[in-house]
């Protein structure tokens, strides 16, 4: 009896394939190419192909691929663009950052692309099996990237901590998947949804509820939500700054991508109330916990780590209402966050350049006098991260909080606004250091180390500044783009 092979519809996954194939090519050429920077630019080319194919697919009606394992709907494609932007900006930082530390290796770019591929798979997945595969492809590559700087002790430590806690979280996530499969009899997201709405599924089924909570634990770890955030500051501080920039946005966006689709498609209608309370609680403690911990930080990478936890909290506010407006606000936020946060890490990467300037915040004293443009860029990113107009961070917060207000959850928006006010203290603390404190007096014989900007990282900074400002003044293009993000 011959087995019929179903139509795979590989075209729907072109962006994912473009990225992974490029990764394999990069890995192959790593063996033969001496100037590894070429591999970085090759990776950018692969990302460009992925971006073009994503935009082209936006014009086509969404089609399921691989027997409804994945889909190329507007939601997945807009997310693809977020991941591509994140990866491209990070690669540009890496080209400078790795070059200065004699770390320029082809594997780095291959791993970064594999990780991006995993994120895309998480965005496009309509089956828990594919969600899990995407999660692992992304995470395993990130474990290695975090430990990439073998000469620095902290890097290996960051990789190890990330690996142990990440593998533990994946195991919990997986147990949750198994329980949901057992309760509903399917791993397909829509089939799970149907089981709850029309398939006679019991809304109080304990197996399904325990499964859902374990899934939430797994995702909360990946997006660094309190109380599953312990790893974040250590990993962000120890990992190479270019990697920190990449994972602070990419891994978070991918976690949200799969979480939102799961909550909306599988646990959408019948189940809303049950998870709304849990996610709202998660949002409140994440915002507050992240902001309060950030106040006490003396290292800028740790400060940005806690700030990224707080941002995960703001984004969760957009998830709570469970409306399509909320989802689109989340995507808007993530796209804006990609530019401003990677921009901030680019400044950190530049200043971390030489031995003299570490990542301690007090080392930023007097920066405005030494490098006015760089200080101005940092000022802009800090203000945008605080959420003040006229920068993209303001609109992100506005849309996310508006979604909460429209769903009659104004209290959540109020908590968010109060938290934004708290965050101003530590973001503006950096600005105060740069503009109002004099540089530490140099001792006799100690040379002031020049800060040099090399080409690629300057491009990242320029792009991040321009987009943060333009979208701040005129957010309509991004609003139009995210409005294409619907579930197919």
């Amino acid at each position: 009896m011959p087995i019929e092979i179903p139509t795979l519809n590989i075209a729907a996954l072109t962006p994912f394939l473009a990225v992974t194939v490029t990764a394999f090519v990069v890995m192959f050429f790593e063996l033969f190419v001496n100037d590894k920077r070429i591999l970085g630019y090759l990776s950018l080319l692969g990302l460009a192909v992925a971006a073009i194919s994503s935009v082209m697919l936006l014009g086509v009606s969404p089609a399921p691929a691989f027997q409804e394992m994945a889909i190329s709907d507007g939601y997945a494609l807009v997310l693809n663009l977020i991941f591509i932007v994140t990866a491209a900006l990070s690669i540009l930082i890496s080209l400078s950052y790795l070059g200065d530390r004699a770390l320029q290796r082809g594997e780095y770019y291959a791993l970064l692309l594999f990780s991006t591929g995993g994120m895309m798979l998480m965005g496009a997945a309509t089956d828990l099996i594919v969600v899990f595969m995407g999660l692992e492809i992304m995470s395993i590559a990130l474990y290695v990237l975090a430990a990439f700087n073998r000469r620095k002790m902290g890097s290996g430590e960051a990789g190890m901590k990330y690996f142990i806690l990440g593998a533990f979280a994946s195991a919990f996530f997986l147990y949750g998947v198994a329980l949901v499969y057992g309760a509903t009899g399917s791993t397909n997201l829509s089939a799970i949804g149907n089981w709850f709405t029309s398939g006679g599924g019991d809304l109080t089924d304990p197996i399904a509820l325990v499964g859902l909570s374990l899934l939430l634990v797994g995702f909360a770890f990946k997006i660094a939500a309190v109380p599953f955030q312990w790893w974040t500051p250590d990993v962000y501080q120890g990992a190479p700054t270019s990697v920190t920039a990449f994972m602070s946005v990419g891994a978070k966006a991918a976690g949200f991508a799969a979480l939102v689709r799961l909550l909306m498609v599988s646990f959408g209608q019948a189940f809303t109330l049950d998870w709304q309370i849990a996610v709202a609680a998660l949002a409140v403690v994440t915002m507050t916990g992240g902001n309060i911990a950030a106040l006490a930080q003396k290292d800028i990478k740790r400060m940005l780590a806690f700030s990224s936890i707080a941002h995960a909290g703001y984004i969760l506010v957009g998830v709570v209402p469970g409306t399509i407006d909320g989802v689109q606000a989340v995507l808007f936020y993530l796209m804006g966050y990609a530019f401003m946060n990677i921009g901030a890490f680019a400044v950190v990467a530049v200043l971390e350049h030489r031995v003299a300037i570490s990542s301690a915040i007090e080392e930023y004293a007097g920066l405005a006098a030494r490098k006015p443009l760089l200080a101005a860029a940092m000022l802009l990113f800090m203000v945008s991260l605080t959420g003040l107009p006229p920068f993209v961070g303001f609109w992100g917060k506005l849309y996310v909080f508006r979604a909460a207000v429209e769903a009659n959850m104004s209290w959540l928006a109020v908590v968010g606004v109060i938290n934004s006010a708290i965050s101003a203290f530590y973001y503006l603390g950096v600005v105060v250091q740069m503009y109002m404190r004099p540089a530490a007096a140099t001792e006799d014989g100690e040379e002031v180390v020049p800060i040099s900007l090399s080409g690629p990282v300057t491009i990242t900074l320029a792009v991040a500044v321009i987009i943060t400002v333009i979208l701040g003044i005129w957010p309509t293009p991004l609003v139009n783009l995210t409005s294409l993000a619907v579930f197919g």
């Binding site: 011959p2 087995i3 092979i5 890995m27 192959f28 063996l31």
Partner: protein
């Protein structure tokens, strides 16, 4: 439900019986002429030197890691092999793509010197 385990019990009994019977037959048939050299724990070869629990060379673990990865990937080929006769010919292409990707990994490991023992 215990009947389901009967089969396992019988299987276990048979697997235990066969080696025991073989050993008994060998014990009955073999000539018995002991001498000191035969009584040694390691009858052939030289005596062991030093502690048994030595630390392995780190390179050994790299071999082990590479082995584990490639060994496990074979699990994807088993279902394919079982269904091979019922599958259309072009499905073979996917198996070949899969093996080529594995080969890319092996080539990488080889060129990077992971298979080279110092």
């Amino acid at each position: 439900m215990l009947q389901e385990f009967e089969f396992l019990g019988v299987l276990g009994a048979i697997t235990l019986t066969i080696p025991v019977v073989t050993l008994i037959i060998a014990w009955l048939l073999r000539p018995k002429k002991p001498n000191p050299a035969k009584q040694e724990t390691y009858e052939s070869g030289i005596k062991t030197i030093g502690d048994t629990w030595v630390q392995f060379k780190a390179q050994y673990y790299i071999y082990a890691i590479i082995f584990v990865v490639f060994d496990i990937e074979a699990v994807f080929l088993f279902p394919f092999a079982v269904a091979l006769r019922q599958l259309p010919l072009y499905s073979l292409i996917w198996a070949i793509v899969f093996i080529v990707l594995l080969f890319d990994g092996l080539l990488y490991g080889w060129r990077k010197g992971a298979l080279h023992w110092n």
